[in-house]
C-alpha cells in the first residue's frame, strides 16, 4: 500500500525545493505570504530527502519570484533549488546563488547604522563567508551572522 501522502501537482507556479529543514515558514515570510495570500500553496516541512536527510519544500500556484526575493532566500537557504512549472511541466530549474554583494536585500541589524535613518540609500552588504553565512555592512562595517540576518529579513 502507498504510505506517503503525495502533494498534488501544480499547473503553473514555482517550486522551492531543498530548503533547510524547518526554514520553510521563514521563506514564506520573505515572500510576504500570509493569511491574506490567495495563491494555493503546499508546504512540506521536514520531509525525507536523499541529499539533505530532511528538507522543506514549498510549491506555490501562480507565483513568480523576483530577483530580490531569490537573493533573500539564498541567505537562509543557500542550497535551495527553484523550479518554474508551466502546464504541469518544469520549464526552468536553477539553484539559488548567494550574491557576493547584497544591495537592498536585508536591513542592517545595527540600530546605530546610518542606513537605518531616513537617508536615500539602500542597505549594502558584502558576503564575507558562505558557511557559516556572514555578511558585512558596507556602511557601518559590522558583520551579521545567520541569526541576525534572519531577524532582519
Amino acid at each position: 500500500m502507498e504510505r506517503t501522502l503525495k502533494i498534488s501537482k501544480i499547473k503553473d507556479g514555482t517550486v522551492i525545493d531543498h530548503i533547510p529543514a524547518g526554514k520553510a515558514l521563514k521563506v514564506m515570510t520573505i515572500l510576504k505570504m500570509d493569511d491574506r495570500t490567495t495563491n494555493s500553496v503546499s508546504i512540506g516541512i521536514r520531509v525525507p530527502s536523499g541529499k539533505m536527510g530532511q528538507k522543506d519544500v514549498i510549491k506555490i500556484e501562480n507565483r513568480d519570484l523576483e530577483k530580490f526575493e531569490v537573493d533573500k532566500i539564498s541567505l537562509i537557504a543557500p542550497e535551495a533549488s527553484i523550479s518554474i512549472v508551466k502546464d504541469y511541466e518544469i520549464t526552468e530549474k536553477f539553484s539559488v546563488e548567494l550574491p557576493t554583494r547584497l544591495i537592498g536585500t536585508v536591513k542592517c541589524h545595527n540600530t546605530e547604522c546610518i542606513t537605518n535613518l531616513k537617508e536615500p540609500v539602500s542597505s549594502d552588504f558584502l558576503l564575507i563567508s558562505k558557511k557559516p553565512i556572514v555578511i558585512r555592512c558596507n556602511f557601518c562595517e559590522r558583520n551579521m551572522n545567520e541569526k541576525e540576518i534572519i531577524s532582519s529579513l
Binding site: E112, I114, K118, C140, E141
Partner: protein, 306 residues
C-alpha cells in the same frame, strides 16, 4: 596616492601609504617648529560638520587647514541647524560640496562618513562616526608610536580601559593587525572588546587578554590608556573599584621598562595621575600635539598641495 580620496576607514589607507604620510607629517612638524608660513592650500576651503561635540579633533582640523593657508567654514552646532529641520545627511553633503573643497564630518551614526562620501564629489574625512571609526586619530596614534620609539614593528602594545565603546581603540586594533606587534588587552569584564571587532581581526595575530595590568607592565613598550566613562556603569561602587584598579600612578610607571611610553587619546579623567605628566614616558600631550601636523599632511596630500 591620497589625492582626491576620502578617508572614511583606516582600511582606506594602504600599507605603503602610511610611510608617505609619516614623512609628510615630519615635514609639517618641522615647518611648524620653524614658524614657517605655508601657502600650500591658498584659496582652498574646508567645511567642517560636527554633529557631535568635539574639542581636539575639530580644533586640530581647523588649525591644520589654516596653517596650510586655506580657510574653514563650519556649522557651530550642525545638530541644531540641519538635522532638526529633517534634512538628510545626503542632502547636507550635496549642498556643502558646492561650498568647499574638502568636507570633515563627525556624526553619531556609524557609517555616516561613508554615506557622505557616496554623495559627495569632494573628498570626505571621517572625524568619528558613532562607535565606528576615527581614522585620523589612528594615524596620529601610529605616527606617535613611530616617532617616539622609532619603529612600530616588534613592539608590545598594551591597551587598557574601555575597549568596548571607544572607537579609537577599535580603529587602532584594526590598524595594528597590519604590523608585527604583540597586543595585550586589559579591561573590566563589561568593557571588553566587542565580538564584532574581534571577529574582524585576522587569525594568528599576537594578542592576549590580560587580567591585570601588573602582569604586563614590565614588558610593555606602549601603554595605551583610554577613558572609562562613569555613565557606562549602573553601579557606581563598581565604577570606583574599576577606576581604582586601572589608574596609572608613579608607582605603576616605575615598573615600566626604560624606553616605554604612555599614550592616551584624551581627555583623561582619573585614569592617569597628574604627577605622571612630568615623566618622560608620558607621551599623551606630545601625541595630542601631533594632531595638527598629521592632519596637515593628510589634508595637503588629499588636496594635492604637496
Amino acid at each position: 596616492m591620497l589625492k582626491n580620496r576620502s578617508i572614511v576607514s583606516i582600511d582606506d589607507i594602504g600599507d605603503n601609504e602610511l610611510d608617505d604620510i609619516f614623512k609628510a607629517t615630519d615635514e609639517m612638524s618641522n615647518a611648524l617648529k620653524q614658524g614657517k608660513v605655508l601657502k600650500l592650500l591658498d584659496g582652498m576651503v574646508m567645511a567642517t560638520f560636527f554633529y557631535e561635540p568635539s574639542t581636539r579633533t575639530r580644533l586640530s582640523f581647523e588649525s591644520a587647514m589654516h596653517r596650510l593657508g586655506g580657510s574653514v567654514i563650519s556649522v557651530s552646532e550642525a545638530k541644531s541647524s540641519s538635522v532638526s529641520k529633517g534634512e538628510t545627511l545626503a542632502d547636507t553633503v550635496r549642498m556643502a560640496e558646492g561650498y568647499a573643497d574638502i568636507i570633515v564630518i563627525r556624526h553619531p551614526m556609524e557609517g555616516a562618513a561613508k554615506l557622505a562620501s557616496r554623495f559627495s564629489s569632494k573628498p570626505i574625512i571621517n572625524a568619528g562616526d558613532g562607535s565606528g571609526q576615527h581614522p585620523t586619530q589612528t594615524i596620529l596614534d601610529l605616527y606617535t608610536i613611530k616617532r617616539e620609539l622609532g619603529e612600530i614593528n616588534g613592539k608590545e602594545i598594551t591597551i587598557v580601559g574601555d575597549l568596548r565603546y571607544g572607537r579609537t581603540v577599535h580603529s587602532l586594533l584594526l590598524a595594528l593587525t597590519k604590523f608585527d606587534v604583540s597586543i595585550n588587552l586589559v579591561s573590566p569584564e563589561i568593557l571588553k572588546v566587542p565580538d564584532h571587532i574581534l571577529s574582524r581581526l585576522p587569525k594568528g595575530i599576537k594578542m592576549k587578554v590580560a587580567n591585570d595590568l601588573d602582569s604586563v607592565m614590565e614588558h610593555t613598550d606602549v601603554l595605551y590608556v583610554t577613558r572609562i566613562q562613569k555613565e557606562r556603569f549602573s553601579d557606581q561602587t563598581e565604577y570606583q573599584s574599576v577606576i581604582g584598579s586601572y589608574s596609572i600612578d608613579m608607582e605603576a610607571v616605575s615598573k615600566m621598562k626604560e624606553d616605554s611610553i604612555i599614550m592616551h587619546p584624551l581627555p583623561r579623567v582619573d585614569e592617569i595621575a597628574p604627577d605622571v605628566d612630568s615623566s618622560p614616558k608620558a607621551a599623551y600631550f606630545r601625541q595630542a600635539g601631533n594632531g595638527v601636523p598629521v592632519r596637515m599632511a593628510l589634508v595637503s596630500m588629499i588636496l594635492g598641495g604637496k
